[in-house]
């Protein structure tokens, strides 16, 4: 079993894992970071989205070994202590979640969307979140949340 080392939420980790271990499995099972979810087996739901070197990635499409040496951020790593990330705060303020299962992936996707695009229109946000499925909210309040956060993040 090869050793995989990376930085996860600012901490260096190093573990022996089987070659075929997915990054999402490594996070959930090896590191116990269960905030990243698994909602499908065809890389289409987005429940598993995290950031790898600052870019949003579906962690079910990547092997743990491919993230060797990378800087990984999960939903557990975006708040600053007790202070929520503006995107987290916006989801709370705008009722952007119901069952919460899609939420971590949705928030991680939305953060990258806002950080890499200025002046997002409603349609840009809807298209930007096309890779994340939510069955509960009808997306209405998710879009509102992202608009709200974009303003606060200076997007």
């Amino acid at each position: 079993m090869p050793t995989v080392s990376m930085k996860v939420n600012g901490q260096s980790v190093s573990h022996d894992v089987a070659d075929n271990t997915l990054l999402v499995t490594f996070l959930r099972e090896t590191l116990g970071l269960t905030g990243t979810h698994i909602g499908c087996d065809t890389s289409q739901c987005g429940a598993c989205v995290i950031h790898v070197n600052g870019a949003s990635v579906k962690s079910c499409t990547m092997l743990a070994a491919q993230a060797n040496g990378a800087d990984v951020t999960t939903i557990e790593g975006i708040a600053n202590g007790d202070e929520l990330h503006p995107m987290q705060q916006a989801f709370h303020e705008n009722h952007g979640l119901q069952c919460g299962f899609c939420t971590p992936g949705m928030i991680m996707s939305a953060i990258e969307l806002v950080e890499t695009n200025k002046n997002l229109s409603e349609q840009d946000i809807r298209e930007g979140l096309e890779g994340n499925i939510c069955r509960c909210t009808g997306y209405h309040n998710i879009v509102k949340s992202v608009q709200d956060a974009a303003q606060k993040m200076g997007g």
């Binding site: 065809t42 303020e93 919460g100």
Partner: protein
């Protein structure tokens, strides 16, 4: 609500439960791991219909890391019971619903692709999955039965069940209905198809089963919507375990929509095997398994006839329905197309004579059961399509045609021709408001403007009613239900005045932690932060029925309200004793027990303390402590109603339907938390739009599910929607303390016909009169081509 506290009833309080979810600290079943746990993987049938000739497990069992491989024979040898049906109906001829056995592992026959044949348990999921590949099942294949219309004459699926018919049920007065048709000026007929859906909660089903051989007891963590119901079924019918030895925990659950109501084979197998192996066993569905084996939804063929008199009033309705229930009867498969469907056929309209016949059919497809709305979306779809078809035939505006047929607001309580008595409603108010919100009057100019851009624009409405707040137990029992449908609550006041509420309802996205706490905080005049809601653990909560059928607030919330009332009553007696006043002089207001007309008072906290430190306490009349239980059994269903209006644009070049506007106005009675209600409406609309435009479960003629992944089953995504306009009117429910009706299913019930009506309206200039769901680009494009070819001929 005490002045200054903006967190009581009616306030859009931000949710208490959010923080754990937005920080990744939710705890779902698959997040749970136990020391020494094994992993289960199920061998599933890859054929739709076959006799099992043999199951060879030798190679799999010999694989390194495999703890056991179990087959249907092992289950049968152990005397394990099958899955049960929770509600049956009488047949027209007086005989009973046919309830074929539904073993948790198939032994003799498989009846759908995905049926459970063997269970492999191993020290890792990868090993269990690899070993499952080595299980060799030989089948003698039988003809698949897929087509609903011809199922009755197809190969027999269950031994001795004639015509593949589970039941053949009727409701209403057939003779009176025939009479109405004989007098009709117009008769409008249509055959409508309600497409099959797969629920797709984003969290797949999962279970972690543990057995303690010293205590001879079990703990099952499950993604269920109703832990006590699950416990009752698994203990009493399947595994024969004393209920007191079984703890069921539904931790955070990632959406349900009905699909997580029922006990499924997998969790029963894991629990059974946990005892056999004396090791915790974990199972989590992947999405493919979810598609194959979660109970599906809808799937009806409805033949509908509507009779109108000279004044365009509906005088009769006849509906003959075939409901596809799949290879086995799921727990609430029978009630969904019957008492949750046939009883809703009057809709918002005064229809004097209605008759319906429903045949519940077996096919070799996955079991079909309640999915968001459960029976009521199917009823609403056929009725609201008929309203538009009839309006078009008589040349009347669809909104006006609805209006003249509405039950007038002074006609309540209104007894329908199909058993229900609506307590209250005002259907014109939400219709008018929704018409105004979408600017109905201005539509034709928008249509003309779109036409200039080469687009077909259409508008469609749907005025719905639903029966929810499920349900009065006596009624349910009389109609064949095998459960009661009350709800329970314990309100426990702590010595320091904080409150814990234990509810039998279950939250899997509905926001109970907040809404329920608002009710308690409001009634007791205490801060919301002082109220904790506990749900989802049979060892902590009172016996409760769980969450489905938009029942949590109307039934569960009322139980909480009643338990709080008991706390207040007891508090008054304690306060009267302490203040040396008569009980009858005590008032409770703004968190204070006061002697009426004086300034003598005790705060809620003081009374709580003296209930637990009872030094000065009416011991002759009361026991110490401040904890009350209430079980609330509703007196009637509740009847939310409203109008939803969709506006679409169709690109003739591609057939793509774009939803450009949505306006709805619902009457849910009083609102506790409008923000949460609005979220429920949005989510319901999205599921209905999914049904009408995108989603479809498709089996090929061999019974293979062709739509078993997100690549083939089209889920609604953010870019399928415009911003949604939502508003409310209020007629308060007359028979519960809170005046609430429930809101969870309304959107999914109302929206599909609104959308299809809009699509048909858009294409009506071409002469198109119908469109089946989903209105996919291909179908719409073909409809346009056909219409244009016809016009050219």
């Amino acid at each position: 609500m005490p002045e200054g506290i903006a967190e009581g009833i009616g306030a859009s309080v931000r949710r208490k439960e959010d923080r754990k979810f937005i920080t990744g600290r939710g705890r779902y079943t698959d997040d749970i791991n136990r020391a020494g746990q094994l992993h289960a993987f199920f061998v599933r049938s890859d054929v739709a219909h076959a006799k099992i000739k043999s199951v060879d497990i030798k190679k799999a069992a010999a694989m390194d890391g495999v703890a056991a491989v179990y087959t249907g024979q092992d289950i049968a040898d152990d005397g394990v019971g099958g899955l049960i049906c929770g509600w049956v109906v009488p047949n027209r001829d007086g005989s009973a619903t046919h309830e074929p056995p539904h073993p948790i592992l198939a032994k003799d026959k498989v009846r759908y692709v995905g049926d459970h044949v063997a269970m492999v348990v191993a020290d890792s999921l990868a090993t269990a999955q690899a070993a499952a590949e080595l299980v060799n099942v030989t089948y003698e294949t039988l003809p698949a039965v897929v087509d609903l219309a011809s199922a009755a004459t197809a190969a027999e699926i269950h031994d001795g069940m004639a015509n593949n018919t589970y039941f053949d049920w009727e409701l209403g007065d057939e003779a009176a209905t025939a009479d109405a048709f004989s007098k009709a000026k117009h008769v409008v007929s249509a055959t409508l198809r309600n497409n099959r859906l797969i629920p797709n909660a984003v969290e797949p089903r999962a279970a972690v089963a543990e057995y303690d051989h010293i205590a001879d007891s079990y703990v099952l963590h499950s993604t269920t919507q109703n832990p006590h119901l699950l416990r009752l079924v698994i203990c009493a019918f399947v595994l024969n375990i004393p209920e007191s030895k079984m703890q069921i925990v539904a931790p955070d659950v990632g959406g349900g929509f009905g699909s997580k109501i029922y006990l499924y084979a997998e969790e029963a197998c894991c629990t059974w095997a946990a005892k056999k192996l004396r090791r915790p066993i974990k199972w989590t569905a992947d999405r493919t398994q979810a598609f194959l084996s979660d109970a599906h939804g809808r799937d009806h063929i409805n033949k509908v006839q509507m009779a109108l008199d000279d004044n365009n009033k509906i005088i009769g309705l006849r509906v003959d329905t075939l409901a596809n229930l799949g290879g086995y009867l799921s727990a609430f498969a029978v009630v969904t197309p019957t008492y949750l469907h046939g009883t809703l056929l009057s809709g918002c309209y005064a229809i004097p004579a209605i008759y319906t016949n429903v045949k519940g059919m077996a096919t070799t497809t996955a079991p079909v059961d309640a999915y968001r709305g459960a029976g009521r979306p199917e009823a609403t779809f056929l009725l609201e399509r008929m309203m538009n078809i009839a309006a078009a035939e008589i040349g009347m505006d669809p909104a006006e045609f609805r209006r003249i047929n509405f039950i007038p607001k002074d006609a309540f309580p209104y007894q329908t021709a199909v058993a229900l008595q609506y307590d209250i409603g005002d259907y014109e108010a939400p219709l008018d408001r929704a018409l105004e919100m979408i600017d109905y009057k201005g539509f034709e100019s928008r249509r003309a403007e779109a036409a200039k851009r080469g687009k077909y624009r259409g508008i469609g409405l749907s005025s719905y009613i639903e029966a929810c707040g499920i349900a009065p137990s006596a009624v349910v029992g009389a109609l064949g239900g095998r459960v009661g449908l009350y709800e329970s609550a314990v309100v426990r006041v702590d010595p320091t005045g904080t409150v814990s509420v234990f509810t039998g309802a279950h939250s899997h996205g509905q926001g109970h932690d907040t809404t329920f706490a608002q009710i308690v905080a409001d009634k007791l005049g205490i801060p919301l932060a002082n109220v904790e809601i506990v749900h989802g653990d049979t060892n902590r909560i009172p016996f409760g029925m769980g969450t489905y059928g938009s029942r949590s607030l109307a039934v569960g919330g009322t139980a909480i309200s009643k338990a709080v009332d008991k706390v207040i009553e007891k508090g008054k007696i304690i306060a009267a004793h302490m203040l040396e006043a008569a009980d009858s002089d005590m008032e409770f207001k703004d968190g204070k027990f006061a002697v009426a007309g004086t300034d003598k008072e005790k705060s809620f906290g003081e009374i709580a303390l003296s209930a637990y430190v009872p030094h000065n306490f009416p011991h002759d009349r009361l026991e110490p402590g401040l904890e009350e239980t209430a079980f609330y059994d509703p007196l009637n269903f509740t009847y939310p109603s409203g109008t939803h209006i969709a506006e679409v644009e169709i690109d003739p070049a591609t057939g793509v339907v774009t939803l450009v506007d949505w306006a709805c106005c619902d009457d849910f009675g009083n609102l506790i938390n409008p923000m949460i209600v609005e979220g429920q409406v949005h989510g319901g609309i999205a599921q209905g739009v999914g049904q009408a435009l995108l989603e479809n479960a498709h089996y090929d003629e061999n019974g293979q599910l062709l739509t078993a992944s997100y690549m083939d089953y089209c889920m609604p995504r953010a870019d399928n929607f415009p911003s949604l306009q939502v508003d409310y009117t209020v007629t308060a429910c007359t028979h519960n303390d809170l005046g609430v009706k429930g809101c969870g299913e309304a959107g999914a019930i109302a929206s599909p016909p609104a959308l299809i009506n809009a699509v048909v309206d858009a294409l009506s200039p071409l002469g198109v009169t119908d469109m089946t769901m989903p209105a996919s680009p291909e179908k719409v494009w073909r409809a346009i081509q056909n219409a244009q070819t016809k016009a050219a001929e």
